[in-house]
């Protein structure tokens, strides 16, 4: 039963991708229906996994296919963490596809688009369900490829293509880190099962485990767009908006958090590892938030906000709050997907992403305004939306475990979040006068009727923002039951029940956070009145400069690599005899090495 469901979760999107690709653009209606149906199938199976009645034991392996002595078995494991992330990927994926039906109507080559989105959903589920390191890596790369191909979907736009390549290169830096870690694990462990690594990590020499741990951390930083490798995410906003909602807000960027959480019990003893995670997370919270405060492109604000919110989750993992940070992940996935889809609807109607050219949309687009407002409230962490609970739980954890540094960062981050959320909401929906930017003035749409395929996902996600924290006990219970190695970092259903109640609402840290949030809004109100505030513009200049430094450093690394390639290119003479000499010398060297080491 569970095995069948797991197979449906992975194979339904892949099969759908193949069919959609085969149907192509000749029959758009069939193609759209197929794409949505494949998503619905997978989502239903994923939700059913949560409720599937099975006496869960410590070993949750539901599928095991032998792959020879070196690789071990391809196993699929339906434990709490995997089911949690599969549900997010399939449900939000389905809503994004549904939204695309209206949003992408009339665009060319939609067969490719839907096929890639479905391929991504299946790969993401396979990534989290995989119990074997090598297959985890395989699907990790598959998601990176889908991300690249979808960012560059408008492949006649040079900006989109270069953004796609940038995303691919930066995430590959992390992919190399992951590969190095996995190869080291293969050398020191009997097989490549994730459980083996968790079990045997104490027997691996500490220096080797350190390399492994930091390799995985590099992978997580690149994938989850953390400082200093966050530079690909803002550029990735060239992707169609439903793709941004699905891949660059709700799912793929969470793979890094998943990786850290999955291997936390093995790597936590490595000296400096948890501290590095916390530092990276804190820097991302602050820098991402700072950049979001001054960006004028609506999607870029959301992208920087994603960097900042992902920083919360990363820092949360470093704190050892695995349940809290995964709860944050769920909440963020829902409200950020909602905000992105709302932004998509606005962009669809106005044809611009510049917030300075928006404003006064509330009366024109109330059906988008209300969901956006709900999402913004959750992003700010206003009670009692899901963003409130997840943020408060994390802050509470930091306070309880006496981590004053992270507590301050988290609360400060809440203030920054409030500032840019208030600014964004105001500029898009309420600002009275739109400034003319560039030569053309955008025209306000007439009161329009959005197609049902765009409206329904917004409404469903808005409902999700309000209620998604309710079934959290079930998740807590499931995770505690199925993750024996993580048990000490998780909480029981009773504890979750207790936390999601008046205890958190009435705690001191909640009061502090809400005060800082209110201060953030007030600060924005104060500075929006005085147009050119010196202090604020100086902060903005600092944020821009730091972003430019990161981008320039990345550019120099790319140029350097190209220079190295053009030098080493000379080794390829094209002369057959020289190649044979090279092969012969390498053989002699290898044989000599083998004899010498014997």
């Amino acid at each position: 039963m569970v095995a069948t469901l797991v197979f449906i979760v992975i194979l339904a999107p892949w099969l759908g991708a193949l069919l959609v690709w085969l149907v192509g653009d000749s029959r758009p209606r069939t193609r759209n229906t197929l794409a949505v149906l494949a998503g619905v199938f997978a989502a239903t199976a994923a939700v059913a996994l949560l409720f599937a009645a099975q006496p869960f034991t410590t070993d949750d392996t539901v599928v095991s296919i032998p792959f020879g002595p070196f690789i071990g078995h391809l196993t699929l494991v339906a434990d709490g963490l995997a089911v949690y992330l599969s549900i997010i990927a399939t449900v939000i994926g389905t809503l994004a596809i549904w939204f695309s039906v209206g949003y992408m109507r009339g665009a060319a080559q939609l067969g490719r688009y839907y096929a890639l989105v479905l391929l991504f959903i299946g790969s993401m589920c396979a990534l989290v369900l995989s119990g074997n390191l090598l297959f985890l890596f395989l699907f990790w790369e598959a998601t990176a490829f889908c991300s690249y191909a979808l960012i560059a979907f408008h492949n006649d736009d040079p900006k989109a293509v270069s953004a796609g390549i940038k995303a691919l290169i930066v995430t590959q830096v992390g992919g190399v880190g992951l590969l190095i870690g996995i190869l080291i694990a293969a050398a020191y462990l009997p097989d490549l099962q994730i459980t083996t690594l968790l079990q045997e990590s104490a027997n691996v020499p500490s220096a080797v485990l350190g390399v492994l741990a930091f390799g995985f951390l590099l992978a997580a930083i690149a994938k989850s767009a953390q400082v200093p490798l966050h530079i690909w995410l803002p550029d990735a906003m060239e992707a169609p908006t439903p793709v941004s909602a699905l891949i660059h807000a709700a799912t793929m960027v969470n793979a890094g958090i998943y990786l850290l959480a999955r291997f936390y019990p093995a790597f936590a003893p490595v000296p400096g590892w948890t501290v590095s995670i916390m530092v990276v997370g804190s820097l991302s919270i602050l820098l991402g938030g700072l950049l979001a405060m001054f960006a004028n492109d609506l999607k870029r604000v959301l992208a920087y906000s994603t960097v900042s919110q992902l920083g919360y989750m990363v820092a949360g993992v470093g704190l050892g709050a695995l349940f809290e940070s995964n709860f944050f992940l769920l909440s963020h996935a829902v409200y950020k997907a909602l905000l992105f889809l709302c932004a998509g609807a606005v962009i669809h109607e106005l044809g611009t992403r510049d917030m300075r050219r928006m404003g006064r949309l509330w009366s024109k687009l109330p059906q988008v305004g209300w969901p956006f407002l709900i999402g913004a409230a959750a992003l700010m962490g206003l009670p009692f939306f899901n963003g409130f609970w997840s943020k408060e739980l994390l802050i509470e954890h930091a306070a309880e475990h006496g981590n004053g540094f992270l507590f301050v960062i988290f609360v400060l981050g809440a203030g920054i979040t409030a500032y840019y959320t208030a600014r964004m909401t105001w500029l898009v929906f309420f600002a009275p006068g739109r400034q003319a930017v560039g030569d053309q003035q955008s025209t306000l749409p007439k009161r329009t009727h959005l197609p049902i395929s765009m409206l329904a996902p917004l409404v469903l996600l808005a409902i999700g923002v309000i209620v998604a924290w309710l079934p959290v006990e079930r998740f807590a219970h499931r995770m505690l039951l199925t993750l024996p190695y993580h048990a000490t970092f998780l909480i029981s259903a009773e504890q979750a029940d207790m936390l999601l109640s008046t205890k958190t609402v009435l705690s001191l840290s909640t009061a502090v956070t809400l005060t800082i949030t209110a201060l953030g809004v007030l600060l924005w109100w104060r500075f929006s009145k005085s147009r050119h505030s010196d202090a604020m513009s100086r902060v903005g200049a600092f944020a821009d400069k730091s972003e430019a430094i990161f981008n320039r450093a990345a550019g120099q690394i790319v140029t350097g690599t190209q220079g190295l390639a053009s030098v080493s290119q000379r080794a390829q003479t094209g002369q057959l005899t020289w190649n044979v000499v090279g092969i012969f010398l390498a053989l002699v060297a290898l044989l000599g090495l083998a004899l010498w080491s014997m």
Binding site: T573, G574, Q575, L576, T577, V580, V581, F584
Partner: protein
Amino acid sequence: MNSFQVLLLGVIALLGIGLYGVLINRHLIKVVIALQILVKAALLAVIVAGRFTGRVSLAESMGLTIIVIDTIVAVLALALVVQIKQRANNLDSAELAQLKH
């Protein structure tokens, strides 16, 4: 000198002849022939190793695999040579290297 040493000598001799042939020849058909001699050296080495370690059946199956792959390589290489002859009307590897640019 026992039979094992004789066979080993044969392997080394074939290896040397093949390598020499690949190194000094620029005519592509001669290179293919030299490559074939090299592969035969490897084949003989596998069989000798099988006899030496007593795992004859493993060596035999490996040997058969090598023969099959070797044949495919030879066929493909000769097909390429024919194509090159038709297109470039030249079989000198050093001169063909200029095609790179």
